[in-house]
Subunit: 221 residues, 2 copies
Amino acid sequence: MSEPAVPYEPTERTVPTRSRERASYERELVHSILDEGYVCHLGFVRDGAPVVLPTLYGRIGERIYLHGSTGSRPLRMAGEQDPGLPVCVTVTHVDGLVLARSAFHHSLNYRSVVIHGTAHQVTDPEERSAALDALVDGVVPGRSADIRPANAKELAATAVLRLDLDEVSAKLRTGPSNDEPEDLALPHWAGVVPLTRGHGTPLPADDLDPAVTLPDYLKAL
Amino acid sequence: MSEPAVPYEPTERTVPTRSRERASYERELVHSILDEGYVCHLGFVRDGAPVVLPTLYGRIGERIYLHGSTGSRPLRMAGEQDPGLPVCVTVTHVDGLVLARSAFHHSLNYRSVVIHGTAHQVTDPEERSAALDALVDGVVPGRSADIRPANAKELAATAVLRLDLDEVSAKLRTGPSNDEPEDLALPHWAGVVPLTRGHGTPLPADDLDPAVTLPDYLKAL
């Protein structure tokens, strides 16, 4: 799938009311933020009220995919509703704590992506299969080639949703604290505390055949 | 504020349609999940469509507090609307990657809290001040006592929202993969990859007075 270099078109709801300098519509940036994560927060409206649930996502080109049990609420709702389920999908990485001399200028360094749109159930078997692989490989690159694929019964129990990257924005804050000039001499430590994320040592299942060693794609994490 | 040991009362929307064994209404568990984090995903409905934004929160007893510019959309909406803004606030910690022999049984170990309710603007000066301290101390315990507090102008630019912990549930998955018995002999690595989170070395601001050393509450992170 080609990824055109033109930015996403800002819309009324993807232009923030404030801190507009933190917003970006660059595709490469949006893709990089999405590809660094795999858990999003999916928002939808049920009986007029907002619902926000954490769920896995994977990206293929200009689409993201979500999945779940065919019995879960948003998946069911996307299937029942025509034309699809209006959603907001948000992905956030928190990179650092910004400690200023004043309470007011405390902040976080972060990168987030907000996607507005309508999620549709995917019925095409090939697209479903590619989406499920993307969901697995988004968590552990290379993993989808080293597992038993879903069988017919498992596939029948799995709903896949597609959401086009169309109405999309990134928002980010980087850099040091922005203190008031008159606060600089105050005796309070100021700076940034970076936040770290990583993978610990893999713990093999108790019933893992000892002949099965840790694959390279897990060593690479 | 006392914290009664009786669990939260389940409601129709806090009982999941599936994986009910993963749901919990225990206050201590909900509080511990909330207190381990400080970034939530705030969902609300705008023009009939869902919006999900990452934002800071802090807990005091059976309430959480959010804040933002008086000009930001949800804060403005909570002030304009009577009686408040219907919201869903979700906090998620991802603890591990669960790698099964089959694609279908791949999962994540996680702990999340979902709060449904109506957010109200806080106008009482003492409650606002306590909430803002809780927001700062939720990120760095002890920090609120070592900064310049907000002045009148800054306070006037800051809106604070209160959300009662009333309709609340936790959801969590722990432990190893749940493989199908017939998959156990497959030659695929299975187990859990723990995820780690931490704080890196604090980076002092370029203009920090060299006489200001790193405080103990930051060394303790």
